[in-house]
């Protein structure tokens, strides 16, 4: 569900840290450095990287507009190849039979079976295309706020990891406690009370 979809999901973050000047150039460089590469015709099964909001399948941060209003707008793309278990099973069985015939034995060692499976997976990963998933990002640098257009746990974890790797600054996820602690203007005394709260019972 992208930013311009009719229905969106948003996970909010506070951005903790600063980027050296020149800001736009440094952000563009970091996005280019960690932009997504294609893994079709490659034995890799998964890749994560940045891509441009306007052209997610041909990322080009020089051409696409990264800055919209006071926001940086770009996307996280994860490409993943998924092979059905039964396809792997079938190809392993064919390869195992071939190997047994070649060496004239009745069984294969655990290590040989693992080598066959690894070989089969490599061949299959080379043959199937990766499925791309795109998650849009709106980053208001001045306000230290970032919106990630997905609530999927895995996608959020990928974002947090790649963000710190790319920009060397940390994303703090905003959820009830962190909103109360960081965004609600509480005094130190109030924050102490907050940290000692326990749940309320509304029934008699």
């Amino acid at each position: 569900m992208g930013l311009l979809s009719s229905s969106v999901s948003i996970t909010r973050y506070k951005v903790h840290g600063k980027i050296d000047a020149p800001l736009i150039q440094n952000i563009t460089e970091a996005l280019k450095k960690y932009s997504i590469n294609e893994i079709d015709n490659d034995p890799s099964d998964k890749i994560v990287g940045w891509t441009s909001f306007e052209n997610p399948f041909q990322p080009d941060f020089e051409v696409s507009s990264l800055v919209i209003g006071t926001h940086f707008v770009f996307s996280l793309r994860t490409d993943k190849k998924t092979i059905p278990a039964k396809v792997i099973q079938k190809h392993c069985a064919i390869e195992t039979a071939k190997r047994l015939k070649e060496c004239g034995r009745d069984f294969l060692s655990k290590n040989e079976k693992k080598m066959i499976k690894d070989h089969v997976m490599n061949v299959l990963y080379l043959r199937i295309p990766a499925t791309p998933n795109i998650y849009d990002i709106v980053w208001n640098y001045e306000d230290k706020k970032l919106w990630f257009f997905s609530n999927l746990k895995r996608a959020n974890e990928e974002l947090e990891t790649l963000f710190v790797k790319s920009f060397n600054i940390v994303l703090i996820r905003l959820f009830p406690f962190s909103i109360a602690d960081l965004e609600s203007g509480l005094s130190d005394t109030e924050r102490d009370i907050l940290s000692q709260l326990s749940h309320t019972t509304f029934s008699k």
């Binding site: 406690f177 203007g185 509480l186 907050l194 509304f202």
Partner: protein
Amino acid sequence: MQDIAVSYDKYKFLGNEFLTWLWFVLDNKQNIIYDADNDLQSFEIGNRIVLENKVEKRTEIITIKGDDAGLEEGLLSLQKGAVVVEINLSCKTENQKWQFTLKGESLSLSSLKVPAKNIVETKEDIEGAVLDKIYLCEKMIVLVDKLFQRFIKLRISNQWIKNIVPEIKKWVYA
């Protein structure tokens, strides 16, 4: 700031209590909503509310779905000790409508539908559409934040136990 994962789990109850309080406010103290955004003309529960009741090691989930669904079962669940863990909300200004779901544990917005704008047909339309969408999403985020801040100030005050919880109990058993 405590470790994020630890505080997420440890204080999960805060978001659920917020949603329970919000239902109480929607039923009894609508002025709190309009104080948070005076453009609003209505703010009500949408087509879904989910409650959770933890009894010893068991967890009961009660889901009420459907437009104009009766919420009596929800109140009954509150009487048994449940809290709201997810709520769909619908709000309107004079000529615009938003609808979204809030989850207690994360306070993230999902299935957020904002008022419809012009369709993007050319590359030049994109920038305007993005800015419109950001503005319309932000309006709801600001509203939720203001309400949550109001809740949290009450939650850490003496008023919570002294006044608010008795009022909520009175509503639950009315």
